[in-house]
């Protein structure tokens, strides 16, 4: 038995390049579009060009007659298929039936009306053009506040008030807070519609095998197992005969945390024709028919004392739902209510959420999902209160933060924050950016007539979704660790990473626990025939929940390996340690992990009460969410002549708990910041009054480009989460959540000398120029 044991370097915490990247950057990864099956048909979909319209008749005869067209199906054909599922529930929620093809009416531009199946995608597209629909356009309504007004067109005729639900939440005694308050600041704040625009659009391949009554579906999704359960239900199939594969997924950001009409539709087509069929979403379809994000109009009131003590916050939230409820649509604004208090210790909230139907594609989860809106609201209101009181935005935050000794901290919204030291993180940021020096620079700039701003946001978020009672479809996660006889390790995670990098992070965790080289570990996910049931990837949960499941599975492997090692070394179970890839007895003898794996499968030496093999599966249920937080500071300067905003510095100090791989964390933060700045400065999904999506192409929808991004200075404080064994909190959404209020606060600060109090996003140059013009005119009048 070997006796030399070399100490292995720990991999967790190291900047390690992504294992996923070689296949991505060499173009050898398999996306849905790369799936090519023998005799596969191609589908294209006819969509409504109208915001709202009745379908008087559809004539498909010319499309059917086109050589190469195999079949055309319309709303009349798909009534046997279950409608699109909304998993969220609220008391009194009105649920419109969302058929996978429209019936006699369409509700938004892009609403699917008919599907053409052909021998190739080109013929399918030509076939779509040959379908003749006799449309009767009706009046649309796309602005949620207009939809609530008396006499507005009814999106769904059966509900003339366009109201899907009204949800109230009270904490403490807001009426008393208002009565006690010395100052109340009110503001209407809009979080505009955003279009997620994953780089890979959606796509589906469905392959029905009639003889086996089995279905395989490849789809670009964040939730393969949940999607399988839902699709089996819609198609009336046995769940165990449906295999769902999420191959490489080119970005989701929440837009693929959903099950869309096209997934069941392709299943239906394949079952009809007994052939595989593929549909790939075009970019235009992606703009028009994949869920949008945000779509809030918030009326906020903050009550405080003159010394800056915040007493409470009141919110009336008007959520633009779009025309239907997708998987989680009504749940998203309720998350905003939960995060209303931000990092502050005030005890009183009052919130009313009104979910409004509009003639638009549904809104749903988009990176941050409810938390960016809430954070934007509270962080704007705190700044506005500071301005009203003549206080420094730092001072008012420090005065109202929950203290580091207050944890676990029960908020006014009823959440229990796990851990934190908010003042320490803000202090670190202030020191790094030399806040005092910046304010002196700003005074100098103002004296020179330059518009320089300093914007702070101290955000909090809830991550690691989450305790199952608080989620619509289970919040646990699963992991299997399978050690092969050679000692190579296969991890199967129920998460479905699609850019987050868990093939790397989980390999680091497994390699450390088992003392094997990282290259000996592979991580599989996204195929329901390979991986045990799992929940999926969203809400910054992969590491905090999926990683925790993996941790416990690894402990099971370690325990079993030690028993095998002890047996092999002829010592008692308690006499061995497993470290550095060796099981070592107190007498100094040892066996390698690989020798143990071989023995476990050889089956000759089996510890008493144990069994052959070295595989463990764990399902882990978190007891709470995890609550990352941070301080983002943006220094900006506004060009008074053009209204253009220049970001001079962007500093992010984030506390995301323990960090598995700083390189992955940087990537998540940079991407999140880019998406947040996109919302703050450029992006806007705009419907006109007729229901046309006027910013529906990349020519008009301004996704941030690399050249538009500032350098992001990043640092961390580390307050481990006590909720999970890794102490991780989650980072996938931090950048998106922290950035928008920091950006708006910065520009409002820049324009404060002109009397500007608030600016709604996106802060386009034209909007800023107009504000400057208008305030200069007012100044002249005064």
């Amino acid at each position: 038995m070997s006796t030399t044991v070399t100490k292995l370097e720990k991999l967790v915490g190291k900047r390690i390049k992504r294992k996923e990247d070689p296949r991505l950057i060499t173009g050898t990864a398999t996306y849905v579009e790369d799936v090519k099956l023998p005799d596969m048909y191609h589908a294209a979909i006819l969509r409504s060009p109208h915001g709202a319209a009745n379908i008087k008749s559809i004539d498909i005869s010319k499309a059917q007659a086109l050589p190469g067209v195999v079949a055309v199906y319309t709303g009349a054909d798909i009534l046997g298929v279950g409608s699109v599922v909304c998993a969220a529930d609220l008391p009194g929620l009105r649920r419109p039936v969302h058929h996978i093809l429209a019936q006699d009416r369409t509700y938004f531009v892009g609403h699917a009306v008919a599907v053409v199946v052909a021998k190739d995608r080109y013929i399918a597209a030509d076939g779509v053009d040959l379908i003749e629909v006799d449309w009767e356009p009706t009046q649309a309504v796309t602005d949620p506040e207009k939809a609530l007004a008396a006499g507005a067109p009814a999106v769904h005729p059966e509900w003339p008030d366009n109201t899907a639900f009204v949800h109230n939440q009270e904490g403490g005694d807001m009426a008393q807070a208002f009565a006690d308050a010395e100052v109340v600041v009110r503001q209407r704040i809009v979080s505009q519609r955003l279009i997620p625009n994953a780089m890979e659009t959606r796509g589906v391949v469905a392959d029905w095998k009639q003889a086996d009554k089995s279905m395989t579906i490849w789809t670009s999704t964040q939730i393969p197992h949940l999607a399988r359960s839902i699709l089996a239900g819609q198609l009336g199939l046995d769940e165990n005969r449906v295999r769902l594969i999420a191959p490489e997924v080119g970005g989701g950001f929440g837009s693929k945390l959903n099950v869309y009409p096209e997934e069941a539709l392709m299943g239906f087509v394949s079952m009809k024709l007994h052939k595989p069929v593929k549909w790939i979403e075009s970019r235009r379809e992606n703009f028009q028919t994949t869920i949008h994000g945000r779509g809030h109009v918030d009326y906020l009131e903050i009550a405080a004392m003159r010394d800056g003590t915040i007493l409470g916050l009141k919110l009336k939230l008007i959520q633009d739902l779009g025309s239907y409820l997708q998987l989680l649509t009504p749940a998203i604004p309720t998350l905003s209510v939960l995060m209303m208090p931000g990092l502050y210790k005030f005890r009183n909230i009052s919130a009313q959420v009104i979910g409004v139907f509009t003639n638009a594609v549904p809104t749903d989860a988009y990176r941050g999902a409810g938390r960016p809106e809430a954070t934007h609201g509270i962080e704007r209101m705190v700044d506005m209160l500071a301005a009203e009181l003549g206080m420094d935005p730092v001072e008012i935050r420090l005065k109202n933060f929950a203290g580091k000794d207050d944890f676990p901290f029960l908020t006014a919204a009823g959440l229990t924050y796990d851990s934190g030291d908010y003042a320490a993180t803000l202090d670190k940021a202030l020191e790094m950016i030399d806040y005092k020096g910046l304010r002196a620079q700003q005074a100098q700039a103002r004296a020179e007539g330059r518009l320089m701003g300093i914007g702070i946001s101290t955000y909090g978020e809830l991550c690691g979704f989450g305790p199952s009672p608080a989620t619509p479809a289970g919040g646990w996660e699963s992991a299997t660790v399978k050690v092969e006889p050679s000692g190579k390790v296969t991890v199967m995670t129920g998460c479905s990473p699609h850019g987050q990098g868990q093939e790397t992070a989980f390999a680091q965790i497994a390699a450390d626990e088992l003392g094997v080289p990282m290259d000996d570990v592979i991580v599989l996910h996204g195929d329901t025939s390979i991986v045990q049931y799992g929940i999926g990837t969203f809400g910054s949960r992969n590491t905090a929940v999926g990683g925790a499941a993996l941790h416990y599975a690894l402990q099971d492997i370690r325990d079993k390996a030690k028993r095998f090692g002890a047996k092999m070394l002829g010592v008692e179970d308690g006499d061995v340690v497993l470290a550095d890839g060796h099981c070592t007895a107190s007498n100094g003898t040892s066996v390698t992990f690989q020798q143990i794996a071989a023995a476990a499968y050889r089956g000759i030496v089996i510890p008493t009460g144990s069994e052959p093999g070295l595989v463990a599966t764990r399902f882990w249920e978190p007891s709470n969410f995890a609550y990352p937080y941070g301080a983002h500071i943006i220094v900006s300067e506004v060009d008074a002549e053009t209204g253009q905003i220049e970001i001079k510095r962007y500093l992010a100090v984030d506390d995301i708990g323990n960090i598995i791989n700083p390189l992955l964390v940087d990537g998540q933060l940079h991407g999140g910041v880019a998406q947040g700045l996109g919302q703050a400065l450029w992006e806007h999904g705009i419907y006109d009054d007729n229901g046309q999506l006027v910013s529906g192409t990349f020519m008009d929808y301004a996704m941030p480009r690399a050249r538009m991004m500032p350098w992001v200075e990043s640092a961390h404080t580390v307050t481990p989460s006590p909720v999970n064994p890794l102490g991780a909190k989650g980072v996938g959404e931090a950048g998106t959540i922290g950035s928008t209020p920091a950006m708006v606060n910065s520009v409002v600060d820049a324009l404060a000398p002109l009397g500007v109090r608030h600016i709604d996003m996106p802060m386009t140059a034209g909007k800023i120029w107009k504000l400057i013009q208008d305030s200069s005119i007012q100044e002249k009048k005064a």
Partner: protein, 284 residues
């Protein structure tokens, strides 16, 4: 996002191409504007003739004190040509502002000029450079000034069967200073406004001023009112400011999602002043 079916020809010579074009085929060069329109089925040509591969249209050369740029030269080739960078830096600088690197690697100067997008970058510079546009068809060749060529939104003097064969720009003497200043539309990268300026000064006075403006209205134009207001005047910032403020006069400023007419007109003045100042700083 799939075009209608069409016929495609890639002739080996200009003569062959012109013969096909005379039969009603549509020319394709870099395809940076045409192909997206075809994918949206907004343009449905039945027959495309690929002129982007013709060596006869792919050259940059100096002849008789002028620079000849073949229609098939890509934006990237214009932006990186040592000859143009040395002798007509304005055209190279302008090319570097077009779209993104992928577009600049495919798109051609002839295609851009023939398309006459009202927000395209080249027309501003070509107006400021007193450039000439050479057109060719089966019937022969003709040479037009930019004001003769650019007629209206997406409308040029090109006749059916005729293509742009080259663009001629001057060798700018060392004394001339030039600049192109652009306010980007953040989504498309096109100009909300783009101002090209070309100036010479002597004895503290402007002796030559050329200003081209794109993006402001339906057609790029040469801002003669700005030029006239400066030539012979003293080189002062107040004069530049006052002249630049005239640039939008008489123009029907466009309004869209990204800029109101009022804002565009304001930006046109601001960017004209910026271009004039930058050009002045580069003039000897």
């Amino acid at each position: 996002m799939i075009a209608n079916s069409f016929e495609y020809s890639a002739p080996g010579s200009l003569k062959e191409a012109l013969a096909l074009l005379a039969e009603g085929a549509k020319p394709l060069a870099g395809g940076m504007s045409l192909i997206p329109m075809m994918k949206l089925r907004l343009a449905n040509p039945e027959h495309l003739v690929d002129i982007g591969r013709l060596p006869e249209l792919n050259y940059i050369r100096e002849e008789n004190g002028e620079l000849h740029i073949g229609a098939g030269v890509t934006h990237f080739e214009v932006e990186s040509s040592p000859l143009l960078l040395g002798k007509c830096p304005l055209i190279a600088e302008t090319a570097a502002h077009i779209g993104d690197i992928q577009v600049r690697n495919r798109g051609t100067i002839g295609g851009s000029v023939a398309h006459a997008d009202p927000s395209a970058d080249y027309p501003a510079a070509l107006h400021a450079l007193d450039a000439k546009i050479v057109l060719v068809s089966g019937e022969g060749t003709r040479t037009l000034s930019t004001e003769e060529f650019f007629l209206d939104t997406f409308t040029t003097a090109l006749e059916p069967g005729e293509i742009v064969s080259e663009v001629i720009v001057p060798v700018d003497a060392g004394l001339t200073g030039t600049s192109y200043q652009k306010f980007l539309q953040p989504a498309s990268g096109f100009a909300i406004v783009g101002a090209a300026a070309r100036v010479r000064q002597e004895g503290g006075k402007f002796t030559l001023v050329r200003v081209g403006m794109t993006g402001l209205s339906g057609n790029a134009y040469r801002a003669r009112n700005v030029e006239d207001a400066l030539v012979g005047k003293e080189v002062t910032d107040a004069n530049i400011q006052a002249a630049a403020a005239l640039v939008a006069d008489g123009q029907d400023a466009s309004s869209d999602l990204h800029a109101t007419a009022e804002y565009r007109a304001h930006l046109a003045g601001a960017y004209t002043a910026r271009a004039l100042r930058a050009a002045l700083a580069r003039s000897a």
